[in-house]
């Protein structure tokens, strides 16, 4: 066999590949096998009344999400606790939303196991359990010296002065001076999540990076939450990159039960994921729900309020 024939033979697979090359079908980027799965959404907060529960079904990934179409109606929902409480939940008018039928309200207890059982109108049975975290205490909310803040300064708390915290001189934070540090007691916890809420809709931006365009500014939200933080050192600090606006803020820190801890740490951040790329972080989150997916979890919460002022 001479060289020329060999070279031409080598071209055959190339031409075959080019001829048979499929084009991308946009639908093939979705795998709709996960549609119609029951989703439970309930978060118990220690020291607060039993929460509202949402029951829905998963929808096709490439279609408009409709809560009304997703709602599970006429489900039989029961919540029990190891303390002997038994509470029935009933659907409220809008469908898919269930409230506890108990008066006076039942307060969620720390370090207590709660169970939920849902039987849908199709006869599916969904169950889950959560053991609530222990109450924890924030020993101090401290604006640590540095980055233009001359010395450590403790913030005033809701327990001390209620909503006056927003006007207390100690709680006036100048962007981006100092770092707000939360010092915790030694109550054991799996992990913590931070959440921040801008309470003054329409307040001005406190950031002004020249490389942001209008679309970037428009995408900034007034509330947000963090991934899971550990607290092995008994301290968690609030990153300034979570603050975009001037004005009053409520800053919440919550200790997580196992279900919430696993869900938050395993959910692709930002509600989107990258498939097939390095990192492989687009992964089915960890749900602790039998017969469905979602969250039946619990948290213990503490919070503080402050006001953010623009840099002088």
């Amino acid at each position: 066999m001479n060289s020329s024939r060999l070279a031409w033979l080598a071209l055959i697979p190339l031409l075959a590949v080019a001829a048979c090359d499929p084009q991308r079908d946009p639908d093939s980027l979705f795998a709709p096998g996960g549609v119609d799965i029951p989703v439970i959404d309930a978060l118990l907060v220690v020291n607060q009344p039993l929460p509202r529960i949402l029951l829905t079904r998963t929808q096709p990934p490439d279609q408009l999400f409709s809560f009304q179409e997703a709602a599970i109606r006429e489900a039989d929902v029961w919540l029990t606790s190891e303390l002997g409480d038994t509470v029935q939940y009933t659907e409220v008018i809008s469908g898919g939303i269930y409230d506890p039928q108990i008066w006076p309200a039942l307060i969620v207890q720390p370090e207590t196991t709660y169970h939920i059982t849902v039987t849908t109108d199709r006869g599916e049975r969904i169950t889950a359990s959560t053991t609530t975290p222990a109450r924890f205490s924030v020993l101090d909310w401290v604006l640590v010296a540095g980055q233009g803040n001359p010395e450590d300064r403790s913030l005033r708390t809701f327990e001390e002065i209620g909503d006056l915290v927003y006007d207390a001189p100690e709680n006036q934070l100048v962007y981006p001076q100092g770092v707000l540090e939360t010092r915790l007691d030694d109550t054991p916890a799996l992990g913590f999540q931070l959440a921040i809420f801008s309470l003054d809709p329409g307040s001005d931006f406190v950031i002004d990076p020249p490389f942001f365009d209008e679309e970037d500014f428009a995408a900034l939200e007034r509330s947000g939450s963090s991934p899971v933080f550990g607290a092995e050192e008994g301290m968690i600090s609030l990153p300034w990159f979570a603050i975009y606006f001037e004005g009053r803020y409520k800053y919440k820190i919550q200790s997580l039960d196992l279900n919430t801890f696993d869900l938050v740490r395993s959910t692709p951040q930002g509600g989107f994921g990258i498939g097939g790329n390095a990192g492989d972080n687009f992964e089915l989150p960890i749900y602790h729900v039998e017969g469905g997916i979602g969250l039946f979890g619990s948290v213990a919460v503490d919070s503080v309020g402050f006001r953010v002022l623009p840099a002088p």
């Binding site: 090359d21 093939s28 929808q59």
Partner: protein, 746 residues
């Protein structure tokens, strides 16, 4: 009478001692020019004698008094096809042999000279490939010639993407490959976030790739070994080469110093002034450059060959976007090696080496007034010695002994809180023994055993290795290879962003990853083609680890079980075929690989088995090169099954546990891990080179086109739920990229 007998006996002994004279002349088959420095291995058929030899400046080897008998002669020279022949030496009959070697631009299984003489891997090793500098240059590249990227043209070798130097070899992940420069580990062999490797084509003489079942002299990785060799300078006078491409300038200077030889090679990108000119406050394009320097000094003065080599390379990227947002990122390797090789007798060679390999990377960033710092460093100092003994009867024995002291450090601070401050200084001792035994002219065996002691966890490891070769006919050879491997150092990498790579030891909180590899193959060497090979491989893996993406962001504990998901299992199985032709008007190869790779982790994919992204069902490689007048033309085509990815399967409503708010449009639910495939990958690259004269000097013009038909190969899929309908966006790899360059010699 007794005196006569004694006289006869003495005469007979003298005659035996006299033997016959043998002269071997090695020439270039094309122009009959003598080849100096060709390596010969003369071996008596009964194994009683084995002599590594080298031709002199006239291409000759003269031996007097060689014992009569039947001999095997292997002749090799860089840039030529090897020659194998048998002959009979008769008592008192001088024999002159002329070996004419055929030049070859595509020397794949070229014999490579190692510290012990002739590379026996060609004969013994399955899945073994070597490429010399000329062959590497002939493979079309993208912008800069790159030896690691060139390897992607070989069957069984693929890459994560067009911009990645990470190699997937026979279903293994990049962290399972041992990357060496002259035998010293290079821990992050990438520039430009993986677009290029650290290996400068000007500075390397060639490379050897063990795709699996590698021998006992190597260890520490579960998959493959790539050993890149520094250039061996041998110029009669000082000479220099300059080269320019679109993004970088290169220089090489080499020369003699008495009997010594040396070279210095370096390159640096020059994109930074252009990037600076394009930068505005609204568009803060980062500043970026990389450089690297290789140098080697070799001296035969101390009774053997003493070599000192150094590599230093660095990447720096930075941006100063505004007063609250800036970052600086740098990473690099410094590798030094001092080696002395000397004969310790007629049949004994010794090698002593001391090496240091340091890799570090650092990030100093501030994003919207939040500071973030990461620094990591790995320093490895290794002292090793090796003896190679050829006692006869077909045996070649090697004994190696050494130790490595590692120093790992990793520190991380976020928002001015130091969450990780990790330091560890483990050490490892290793010993290997190996017997390469030619049982008969058609059968060879390599038995090896590597022992390791790692003080971290007080671990003792034994790793047996085996290779068998059996000639079934004049043209057909059967090969088998097997081995056990353990991995102590674990690379944590994001292939799209290799700048942040770091290594961690698998401490006593987790088991070391283990693999058991077996390879069976046939090699056919008919006269119409150089090689047709077929191999079947199976790699079984236990106690694999994968970086745990779900750990808390400020985790302070840094043990292996905290950082990794542990206890994974897996396998890689497949078949590989290669046809290669190195002569005639067209040269090149055709390769096909069928592969199946799977992994199982208890904490991934609900414990179900999945295909990792380096699973490739089909992989086709075609490389063709030809001379057309003054032009040397090359083309490389590659086809591969699309990479596995995780598709979106549904949308769901779930409130954020932190804010209590639900996204208006719900969230995306991922399907089973890697349960879909990107479209098949294919690409054609072409190159053309021709000698020219520039400024009165000999030079070479190089033109290359990457992705000639502008195939938009898919890289990954991104799902966004900011709108009412989930948008799936396909991100593509590199389009058609033309490049030109000039190399000039002084």
């Amino acid at each position: 009478m007794s005196r006569s007998i004694l006289l006869i006996l003495l005469t007979a002994i003298a005659a035996t001692a006299t033997g016959a004279d043998l002269t071997v002349t090695v020439v270039d088959a094309e122009d009959q020019a003598p080849i100096a420095g060709a390596e010969l291995l003369l071996e008596r058929e009964d194994g009683s004698e084995r002599r590594p030899l080298a031709t002199d400046e006239n291409g000759r080897v003269d031996l007097a008094g060689v014992a009569a008998g039947r001999y095997l002669l292997e002749t090799t020279a860089r840039g030529f096809e090897p020659d194998y022949r048998e002959f009979v030496l008769t008592e008192n009959e001088p024999l002159v042999i002329t070996v004419a070697l055929t030049s070859n631009a595509f020397v794949i299984d070229e014999l490579v000279v190692t510290s012990t003489g002739i590379d026996e891997n060609l004969e013994l090793q399955t899945g073994y490939v070597t490429l010399d500098a000329a062959a590497l240059e002939a493979i079309p590249g993208v912008v800069e010639s790159d030896p690691i990227r060139a390897l992607q043209s070989l069957p069984g070798v693929s890459a994560a993407s067009d911009i990645s130097s990470g190699l997937y070899i026979r279903g293994g992940s990049p962290d399972q490959n041992l990357m060496l420069l002259d035998g010293v580990t290079v821990y992050n062999p990438t520039h430009a976030f993986g677009l290029f490797s650290t290996f400068n084509n000007d500075a390397i003489g060639g490379l050897s790739l063990f795709k699996g079942a590698y021998p006992a002299e190597y260890g520490g990785r579960l998959g493959a070994v790539l050993d890149v060799e520094n250039r061996q300078p041998d110029p009669p006078r000082v000479r220099a080469e300059l080269g320019v491409s679109i993004i970088a300038a290169r220089a090489l200077v080499e020369g003699p110093a008495g009997p010594d030889r040396w070279f210095v090679a370096g390159r640096r990108t020059y994109l930074d002034p252009m990037l600076r000119a394009l930068r505005t406050p609204e568009n803060p394009i980062p500043d970026y450059y990389f450089y690297d320097v290789n140098a080697l000094y070799a001296s035969p003065r101390l009774g053997g060959m003493t070599t000192f080599s150094i590599y230093h390379g660095r990447d720096e990227v930075g941006v100063d976007a505004d007063v609250n947002t800036q970052f600086d990122l740098g990473w690099g390797n410094t590798v030094m090696a001092l080696r002395h090789e000397r004969p310790l007798g007629d049949t004994l060679d010794g090698t002593l080496s001391l090496s240091s390999s340091r890799y570090d990377s650092g990030t100093d960033a501030e994003i919207l007034a939040t500071a973030f710092e990461v620094d990591n460093q790995l320093h490895d100092v290794t002292l090793s010695g090796r003896l190679d003994w050829y006692p006869g009867r077909g045996h070649g024995l090697s004994l190696g002994l050494g130790g490595s002291a590692y120093d790992f450090s990793y520190s991380q601070s976020f928002n001015n809180d130091s969450s990780v401050d990790y330091d560890s200084s483990p050490s490892e001792l290793f010993v290997f023994v190996e017997d390469r035994w030619r049982i008969d002219p058609r059968t060879a065996l390599r038995l090896g055993l590597r022992g390791r002691y790692i003080d971290d966890g007080d671990r003792y490891l034994l790793e047996p290795r085996l290779s068998v070769t059996r000639g079934l006919s004049r043209e057909l050879t059967f090969k088998l290879g097997a081995g056990v491997y353990n991995q102590y150092l674990q690379l944590v990498t994001t292939e799209g962003f290799s700048a942040g790579d770091f290594y961690l030891p698998i401490d006593e909180t987790a088991e070391l990853g283990r693999s058991f590899q077996t390879v069976v193959g046939l090699e056919w060497r008919p006269n119409w083609i150089d090689l047709a090979s077929f191999e079947i491989y199976a790699n079984h893996l236990d106690d694999l680890v994968v970086f745990d993406n779900t750990m808390p962001v400020n985790q302070t504990s840094f043990t292996a079980e905290d950082i990794f998901m542990t206890g994974g299992t897996g396998y890689a199985r497949g078949a590989e075929m290669m046809l290669r032709r190195d002569f005639g008007r067209f040269t090149g190869w055709f390769g096909y690989t069928l592969g199946y790779t799977r992994r199982t982790f208890e904490d991934l994919n609900r414990g179900n088995e999945f295909a990792p992204k380096y699973d490739r069902r089909h992989d086709i490689n075609i490389l063709v090169s030809t001379q057309a007048g003054a032009w040397r033309l090359g083309a490389a085509f590659r086809y591969a099954t699309g990479q596995a990815f995780t598709p979106a399967t549904a949308r769901l409503l779930l409130r954020d546990p932190g804010t209590g708010e639900a996204s208006e449009f719900g969230q995306v639910l991922p399907a089973d891990r890697n349960s879909a495939r990107l479209l098949p990958y294919h690409r054609l690259d072409v190159s053309a080179r021709r000698p020219i004269r520039l400024f009165g000097r000999p030079a070479e013009f190089v033109a290359e086109i990457f992705n000639l038909y502008n195939r938009r190969n898919e890289w990954f899929v991104q799902y966004e739920t900011d709108g009412p309908v989930t948008e799936a966006t396909v991100v593509y790899m590199l389009p058609l990229i033309p490049s030109v360059g000039v190399n000039i010699e002084f």
